[in-house]
Point group: C3
Chain length 331, copies 3
């Protein structure tokens, strides 16, 4: 077993990633898993490792809700039980691990820990994905530990340095930014930056007259272990009139390995919007976070005695929460 | 020293791999070795590492049964003794390790352990290589531990899944296969699959009429640590008449490192036959065994509590034998 | 902290490597550093790692003797102190490590240990670099531990094997070489090979008549930890008349990591001379030393019980000196 928190909901995949009539093989929490539909159309998530010789079942064949190992032919169904052995009786107790899976708003959420503790109501609310304008769902793997990405998102002040070219706020965070960190009833931690009567970001300038000021909200929401949502609103200063429709974006992180993370996001439809979204991740965030991971060289974050700034408050709270959850599981 | 069994015969190379008048440098049992002929034409196998600054002697020059280090010029002969120092006296006791080497049926067999225990009569019998039709000798390195390859060979039932496209038996192993595991006087362990009155494999169909049945023997022989031979016979059902001449193939495995293995085999003469032989190794066996090794991630096989099937009997016996040999050497 | 000796002068870079108005980022003694000029033109060397989130400061921007982190904007000056935080007060005590730097003969020398022990007079004397004919300064990284390169240089007998094609001495080291190992007042260890009335090396033959003999001096000087200088003189035998002007070359080694070394050298001006110099390093020395490092596989040199030859005397003295210095620092 890995060091990851087990008693928590993580997102495994977007539903649209699982091929029709087939399976998706994916490493999650440093273990190999298979996602597929049972014959009754419910979802199954079983370990992608044959208990006989440990080869990935994903090298075998899938049909009728069963995957048959490509090495010696043991077959397993969505419950994880071995249901066929071509050379004789099904060995007693032969099975692979399985997880509970719940579909929500186009995502497949799984619970790797104690099934008795799995409460589907605790899955973070991403209803805005379906409620908002049409979007496309996307995913990629960033080659760093998930906590470093969560740190990045929980301290949006980095936008003024790292995202100057994309969604930087033209220095208004420095001059007009007010930060508040709050916790809501769902247990989420929010880091809110609010700018009042500030000069507009570059991308908004064409919609305004010279000298017009704006009010801007840059809010990020974090659910443990690492499912985040970013909410952006921009209004003419002192009005309730949105300059553009409010934006809400999922930034859902699921550990692939200790050093890599599945990053689930959405973007406006079309290849241009996708390219722009990926550019921010790949050209701006990832090189910096990768350099950070390289400098840390697998050392523990706290053992390195990081300098703590006021702007780190939300990230520090989130890290503390994770430590508490981890300790609780170690008991 | 490595963890490999030392008091055993392994094959180092085919004779034809050693260049005329030169040497072959090869990593075996995780140590670097040189193979060459002494001036009297006998074989020498000495450590490929100068005792002075540890550089490979194979970076130097070979002449007259001596290799001269390319860094500072110490020379060594086939006994492993230092026999020349250009800058002064030959340092007392300067030498490199050596192994006894015996040539058999085109192969060079070595004994890395206690020389007093080396009995050339214990070299596994591969006389069929010379006795059969003309073949070519070949070799390649598979990037996994040798025991995983031996497991693969000792359980031929995998042919029905992994080798469907090449020498699969059309399901007759399931329907007509009888497995027997025996030990012979030479200490070899045999895993024998015999199919009686079965439907023919695809490659044999053109030689038969519709509905003809065959008897087939698929026998594999294992000598510790990992020298295997595969024997295939196919006859018209109920007759002694071979449909094709009986086939015998060496599958001789020698560890290169803990994670890679020299795989010595033969094939019918010519590039097409060679390509076909390599295809089975490279496209069918190796990807599966490599995936297995990746999933095991250097964990011990037994620590992973593998599910044991009846078809694993021979492989399990072989693994037990190796553990006994290993324990005996640790005493 | 690394295992490298800290209380010693190492060369960090040639001055000409630092861009005008910018900085040079370089890993030295297994830590990341930045070299740049302070506004008063003095040199600064500070750690290339922000104390906040550990990203390299070199991913940020440099101006007016300050480097501003590209992630969240903390700025540091040449003293290592944090001097700006765009989001609020400068955090008390926020700083990065720094080293004293001294410029000498076109090189920047640093002291990573106790500043109270740093005596600029102890920087090895490389005045000959400026005093001699015009040269160009060059540098490259060799992928091995610095001690293996120092061993190589301290035992020039290897020229007869490894540098036969370049500056080998035609066997005269064997037949006419006399080795002396001495220590001078500066603490340097010298290994001197002197050949009297020997046949000339190949490159000198065109300047001589058939049968002419030469006297040759091949002297190498080592200052701890690994700053070496090579001095070559060649005269008509029995005369004081130099056949070519005496040559002096720096071979200054500074660890980058435990397994790689910055190699600072000079060469005659022009691309051809540079290519020739690099050829000796890249084609002759480096493959052999890399093979040595591979064979040693991070084992300790002494734990491998190397065979010691008379020609190793200087290298052994140097290794002992380093061990004494290391022990002194561990106290």
């Amino acid at each position: 077993m890995s060091d990851f928190i087990q008693n928590a909901w993580y997102m495994a995949a977007w539903v649209c990633e699982v091929p029709d009539g087939g399976f998706l093989a994916r490493r999650l929490l440093d273990r190999p898993w298979l996602l597929f539909r049972n014959p009754d159309d419910s979802w199954a998530m079983i370990e992608d490792r044959c208990p006989h010789r440990f080869v990935p079942l994903s090298r075998g064949k899938f049909a009728d809700g069963r995957v048959t190992c490509g090495y010696h032919g043991l077959a397993f169904d969505g419950s994880g039980q071995c249901v066929n052995n071509r050379f004789g009786e099904v060995p007693k107790g032969a099975s692979v691990a399985k997880c509970r899976v719940v579909e929500r708003h186009g995502g497949l959420w799984f619970w790797a820990g104690d099934p008795g503790l799995a409460d589907a109501d605790a899955i973070p609310d991403f209803a805005f994905i379906d409620a908002g304008p049409p979007i496309e769902r996307a995913q990629y793997v960033m080659g760093v530990n998930y906590q470093l990405i969560a740190d990045n998102l929980l301290d949006l002040s980095h936008a003024e340095f790292l995202h100057v070219e994309s969604f930087g706020t033209n220095g208004s965070l420095f001059s007009h930014g007010r930060q508040s960190v709050v916790q809501d009833a769902s247990g989420a931690i929010w880091n809110k930056w609010d700018m009042t009567s500030a000069s507009p970001p570059g991308w908004a300038a064409p919609m305004l007259d010279d000298g017009d000021r704006i009010d801007q909200a840059l809010h990020i929401r974090w659910h443990a272990p690492a499912s985040l949502a970013l909410f952006i609103e921009i209004r003419r200063a002192g009005t309730a009139e949105p300059l553009v429709p409010p934006m809400a974006n999922p930034h859902i992180l699921t550990p692939e390995t200790p050093g890599s993370t599945h990053y689930f996001f959405t973007h406006e439809p079309g290849p241009e919007a996708e390219a722009m979204a990926r550019r921010v991740f790949l050209d701006e965030d990832e090189p910096m976070i990768t350099a950070q991971a390289g400098a840390m060289d697998e050392a523990d974050f706290w053992d390195m005695h990081p300098l703590i700034l006021a702007s780190d408050k939300a990230a520090i709270l989130a890290r503390r929460r994770l430590m508490q959850m981890h300790k609780a599981e170690m008991r």
